[in-house]
């Protein structure tokens, strides 16, 4: 019983240690108290800020932009990736482009996107979608390409048509890897949305709030917004993990 409970509490130890260290840094005045409010003050401020309409708007805008960008990226990336993956020749001929742009930090393209889309909401969504689409695309493509040869041979012996091999087997085989892409994609979308909100003129969003708070030296608000952004990223990832576990129930076993 006790060992059961203590093992359940294990995940709490890390955050507790961090808060203790944080409190210690404040109490011992390692840092200027103006730059680092105490953890309790910060958390208190954070929970209080949830009742502020401006904070709610900021969270909602960031979430909206992230999900919109992700939806575009998934709608384009998954089908395209599956198609590319089912023809090794097509994939190989585009591989360099995909790898090149995947390796290019998307933030480097923000000025270019500003030229095209102006300082609009569409711009932030577009740049985040662009960043996410490549990782989604290449994961889906690899999922198809790494389909188990034995399964394809089994289908061939059964005399299954090419279309059904694609639909019943390749697509299902790629799902596990596709989910890895989707999960990574939503995280990347959030990162880029926050950056875009900071540096592309924005009236709302957590990125905008963080940089605004820093400019006017509202340090508690800055820390609270950072924590909320982190929680948002964590929860999005968790949600995708849960959906993944339900949908691709076989991936950890087979």
């Amino acid at each position: 019983m006790t060992s059961h409970w203590s093992s359940r509490l294990l995940p709490l130890i890390g955050p507790l240690l961090l808060f203790l260290l944080w409190q210690l840094a404040v109490s011992a005045q390692w840092l200027n108290p103006v730059l680092l409010p105490s953890p309790l003050e910060t958390l208190g401020f954070m929970f209080q800020s949830f009742s502020e309409p401006s904070m709610r708007t900021d969270i909602a805008s960031t979430l909206y932009r992230t999900l919109a960008a992700f939806a575009f990226a998934a709608a384009v990336g998954v089908p395209l990736g599956v198609i590319l993956g089912s023809s090794e020749k097509v994939y190989r001929s585009l591989e360099f482009l995909i790898d090149f742009f995947r390796s290019t930090p998307s933030s480097a393209l923000i000025p270019l996107f500003m030229l095209i889309f102006g300082i609009s909401d569409a711009n932030k969504i577009a740049i985040a979608a662009f960043a996410a689409v490549l990782v989604i695309l290449f994961n889906s493509a690899y999922g198809v390409m790494n389909a188990k040869k034995t399964r394809l041979m089994a289908a061939k012996v059964m005399g299954i048509s090419r279309w059904h091999i694609f639909k019943d087997i390749l697509l299902m085989e790629s799902l596990a890897q596709t989910f890895v892409g989707l999960r990574t994609g939503v995280s990347i979308a959030l990162v880029i949305v926050i950056v875009a909100e900071m540096f592309i003129g924005s009236e709302n969003g957590l990125g905008h709030r963080i940089i605004d708070a820093q400019q006017v030296f509202n340090i508690k608000d800055m820390y609270a917004s950072i924590l909320i952004t982190g929680a948002l990223g964590y929860l999005l990832n968790l949600a995708f993990l849960l959906i993944e576990k339900k949908t691709v129930h076989w991936s950890s076993q087979a």
């Binding site: 040869k149 034995t150 089994a154 012996v157 059964m158 005399g159 019943d168 299902m172 129930h249």
Partner: protein, 273 residues
């Protein structure tokens, strides 16, 4: 090349090229050639597989046992030659194939039942008919585990049983088994051996089994096809006609012991060359 000559004393070629097949032949292989990277594996091979019998293929490592089977099953192209099933081409013939690696052969996103029904449904059979066929196989195999489970929830032996049921579901004329026991424990091997014999007796399906285990190869076989080292030829076709169903006790039967000793002797001789 001297390979034909050096093997000559042992060689008992079953038929001259282009010869008429034996009377009870199901699968005729004529002039089969296959080379890998310029190295010939098979040159002008002729072989007949008898109808409604179990043929086990046995030979040294790398002699192309699986390659031969995969070419007959159409999973690997041949360079030259013709393979006919009762005079029909492969495309006109229903075949079943059981893979060594059952984990990779089953579809993990489908239940065991859906796996078995899959080839039937894709052939256009109605759901009800497909289900009835699965029930029939369940009876035949005396299945006690829940077929509504996913493959990864089953033991290795249960998964391989599901593979065999899936291969049998469309009532194939010829069934190919590529080292079906190599990943199974002894108990499961015994069970599946029994079931395969029962099914074979009940349906009269022609079976070709590749085995790397001499005992397995002999136990199930009506004929043991012994292959030489590459370039591969037929070393000998050894008949083994103990009555079926054969239980584990026949492994001490004098005839079993004699045939096993003989195949081992041929195998040793081929290795020594």
């Amino acid at each position: 090349m001297t390979q034909a000559l050096s093997l000559a004393p042992a060689l008992d070629k079953p038929q001259v090229p282009g010869a008429a097949p034996r009377a009870d032949t199901h699968v005729t292989i004529r002039g089969l050639s296959k080379a890998f990277a310029g190295q010939p594996l098979y040159t002008d091979l002729d072989l007949d597989l008898p109808r409604g019998k179990i043929v086990s293929t046995f030979g040294p490592n790398g002699c192309g046992k699986s390659t031969l089977m995969n070419m007959i099953a159409g999973l690997m192209p041949m360079d030259k030659g013709e393979i006919l099933f009762d005079g029909k081409t492969l495309a006109q013939t229903k075949i079943g194939y059981v893979f060594q690696n059952y984990r990779d052969a089953l579809f993990p996103w489908m239940s065991a039942r859906a796996n078995i029904a899959y080839p039937l449904v894709r052939q256009g059979m109605s759901k009800a008919d497909a289900n009835a066929r699965v029930d029939e196989l369940t009876q035949m195999f005396d299945i006690r585990f829940d077929l509504n489970r996913y493959p990864y929830e089953l033991s290795g032996g249960q998964q391989q049983t599901v593979c065999i049921m899936r291969a049998l579901a469309p009532r194939p004329e010829v069934m190919f088994l590529d080292e079906p026991f190599s990943a199974l424990d002894f108990e499961m091997t015994l069970f599946i051996r029994d079931k395969l014999q029962e099914v074979q007796l009940a349906t009269g399906v022609t079976m070709l089994i590749v085995s790397h285990d001499l005992e397995d190869a002999v136990f199930l076989a009506d004929e043991i096809l012994l292959l030489t080292r590459r370039p591969t030829q037929i070393a000998e076709i050894v008949p083994f006609d103990l009555p079926r169903p054969r239980g584990a006790e026949i492994m001490s039967h004098p005839e079993f012991v004699r045939v096993k000793a003989h195949t081992l002797e041929v195998f040793r001789r081929e290795m020594a060359l």
